[in-house]
């Protein structure tokens, strides 16, 4: 997926002005180099690795009908064979080509060049919320660690009728609501744009992020699921940290209404479980209980925080290299 594979000598192979093929490679502030002709496209791409990096500028002839990923591939072919980026499907379905195009988290394969302001340089940076491996490739392990801490589907036992019929029976109206969340392609653009962790690195120790709120909502709305994740979401997964500012919804390439259909319904469920005195009274009278965070998390593959502070505490976003 990562091409070319990570090069341990990145600095030595990074493009420089001596690179014969690089036409006018200028490092520096994006947008500082005007395109020589409107027929050309100017790509300002962040190059670097775990030691730091900077923007490099490439001029290419424009071609009709291209998406940003096509142009990145042409930069690889003609200017910078060592430029690393992830991609796989070129159809907006694999979720690998996430980057920040002109500052907006987007899929490179789904952003048409003609949707960007014509004649202006196009800036491409890696996702800011995750540490850089190389160039446009980031280490998204944090998301996989969160995923391990989401308690999986926990179905109720089958009824006698269902046993006889050979399996569970569910009504269409009960399953259709959570279908929306199954469209997720795990591009992690929502996790990238979410300011809770984008601008406050330390929150990663106690925040699941929009993609995983959508996953929990899907399970909480599943008609067969019997787990109760409300206390887990409130205490350990940082649902309360989300301030419903909807950036996750704005960037989701699958147009999942993450905030309206997953996060706010979860917040309302948490109100039922923890903040509504009448709901509390109702639970007492009807003798209903709720699961504690620990009980809810018991079936999750992993426990504990998804991220930890190093010995020197980190807060805010670590300063990017270059500049």
């Amino acid at each position: 997926m990562e091409e070319p594979t990570t090069d341990p000598h990145a600095e030595e192979t990074a493009p420089s002005e001596e690179t014969a093929e690089a036409t006018n490679v200028v490092a520096g502030v994006p947008g500082s180099v005007p395109a020589p002709s409107t027929e050309d496209v100017t790509m300002v791409i962040w190059r670097g690795d775990e030691h730091g990096g900077e923007f490099a500028t490439y001029h290419l002839p424009a071609q009709e009908g291209e998406v940003v990923l096509d142009v990145v591939h042409r930069v690889q072919a003609t200017h910078a064979p060592d430029l690393a980026c992830r991609w796989n499907c070129k159809a907006g379905k694999c979720g690998s080509c996430s980057a920040e195009i002109n500052g907006k988290p987007s899929l490179m394969c789904m952003t048409r060049m003609d949707s960007l302001p014509p004649g202006e340089p196009v800036t491409i940076a890696p996702m800011k919320t995750f540490p850089v491996i190389r160039d446009l490739v980031t280490d998204v392990s944090y998301n996989y660690e969160v995923a391990k801490r989401i308690p999986p589907f926990e179905p109720r036992p089958k009824t006698a009728d269902e046993e006889a019929a050979g399996g569970y029976r569910m009504a269409q109206i009960d399953v259709e609501r959570s279908q929306e969340f199954r469209k997720c392609i795990e591009c992690f653009l929502c996790q990238d744009v979410c300011h809770v962790i984008r601008d406050h690195e330390e929150n990663k120790t106690a925040f699941a992020g929009p993609r995983f709120f959508a996953r929990s909502a899907e399970l909480e709305m599943h008609p067969l699921d019997v787990n109760d994740r409300r206390e887990l979401l409130r205490e350990q997964q940082g649902l309360g940290k989300c301030n419903i500012t909807k950036c996750c919804t704005e960037v989701c390439p699958e147009h999942i209404k993450i905030t309206d259909n997953a996060i706010i319904p979860l917040k309302e469920r948490v109100v039922d479980a923890s903040y509504d005195p009448i709901a509390w009274l109702g639970r007492k009278i009807l003798n209903r209980s709720k699961r504690t965070a620990r009980e809810a998390a018991a079936s999750a593959p992993s426990k504990g925080p998804a991220a930890i502070q190093p010995s020197e505490p980190v807060s805010g976003v670590p300063v990017a290299g270059g500049d």
Binding site: P126, V196, I244
Partner: protein
């Protein structure tokens, strides 16, 4: 298939180099600031007008002398001893001597302040957390709504109930406005204004996220509750337009007050006819 290796907890260590420029709030080049600036402008204008209208304590009722029964939504229900004659069902709270609007406006204020949509709007535009997507948050530390005071946003559903009571009263006001004392039943610009205002306020309340949850969204198995599922189905498309209703009802409620105020002060005449 999930293998054992996949599930071993190996928490990531915070930190590491990030791509993009340092010390730059955003690489966005579009006009991302238009939305926060618009929000600040409209909300500030509304708050300024509403505060003025609430404190001025006059010109909120057009009564029998002009063959009308129009009350400003900011002053209804008028419950205090200071209410002008005809505007209230009887002075319930005679000890309240300052503007009766202050007593009423606490509820819509609380409702809108804790509304999920307005929260988004003011967190972005006033608090800059974040001002726009992929534009850096203006604060060094951040706990969101997980602590006091913002944890109090969770009372929203109780303000929703209070909102329903007020909507009912404003609906009664709108219906009563069709009685033109001394003339009989009639229609005037004022009745239309009050009716549209009531409808917009209902659309705003019914599209509320807490309403959608309480009516059916909180259920796990819809098929056991067909009626609540029906209601949820009806509310869901309204909910998708909650932002639009929030702005429309906000602007219109101020315009309604303004209209009643202009008529009550004699600046304009409430055109209409009667049967």
């Amino acid at each position: 298939m999930v293998t054992k290796e996949d599930t071993i907890a190996t928490p990531v260590v915070l930190g590491g180099v990030r791509g993009g420029p340092a010390r730059v709030a955003t690489l966005r080049k579009d006009r991302w600031w238009v939305q926060p600036v618009t929000t600040v402008t409209v909300l500030t204008a509304f708050v300024a007008y509403a505060t003025w209208a609430a404190f001025i304590n006059k010109d909120y009722y057009v009564g029998a002398a002009s063959h009308r029964d129009l009350i400003s939504p900011f002053y209804s229900p008028c419950l205090t001893g200071s209410c002008v004659p005809g505007s209230h069902p009887g002075s319930v709270l005679s000890w309240w001597t300052i503007s009766p609007a202050l007593l009423i406006l606490i509820f819509p204020l609380g409702f809108r302040l804790t509304c999920y949509y307005y929260r988004k709007a003011y967190y972005r535009s006033f608090w800059w957390a974040p001002p726009a997507c992929a534009v850096a948050d203006a604060h060094n530390s951040y706990t969101g709504e997980s602590r006091f005071p913002l944890i109090m946003q969770n009372v929203h559903r109780y303000f929703f109930f209070a909102g329903l009571v007020l909507n009912t009263i404003l609906t009664i006001d709108a219906v009563m406005a069709f009685r033109q004392p001394g003339h009989g039943i009639g229609i005037s610009v004022g009745t239309v204004v009050l009716s549209v205002n009531a409808i917009l306020l209902w659309l705003y309340s019914l599209s509320c996220h807490a309403c959608r949850h309480l009516c059916g969204g909180g259920l796990k198995v819809f098929s056991n509750h067909p009626i609540r599922h029906r209601i949820w189905k009806l509310l869901t498309p309204l909910n998708a337009k909650h932002m639009a209703f929030a702005w429309m009802s906000l602007v219109f409620v101020a315009l309604t007050d303004l209209y009643v105020r202009l008529v009550a002060s004699g600046t304009i005449h409430d055109a209409g006819f009667h049967f």
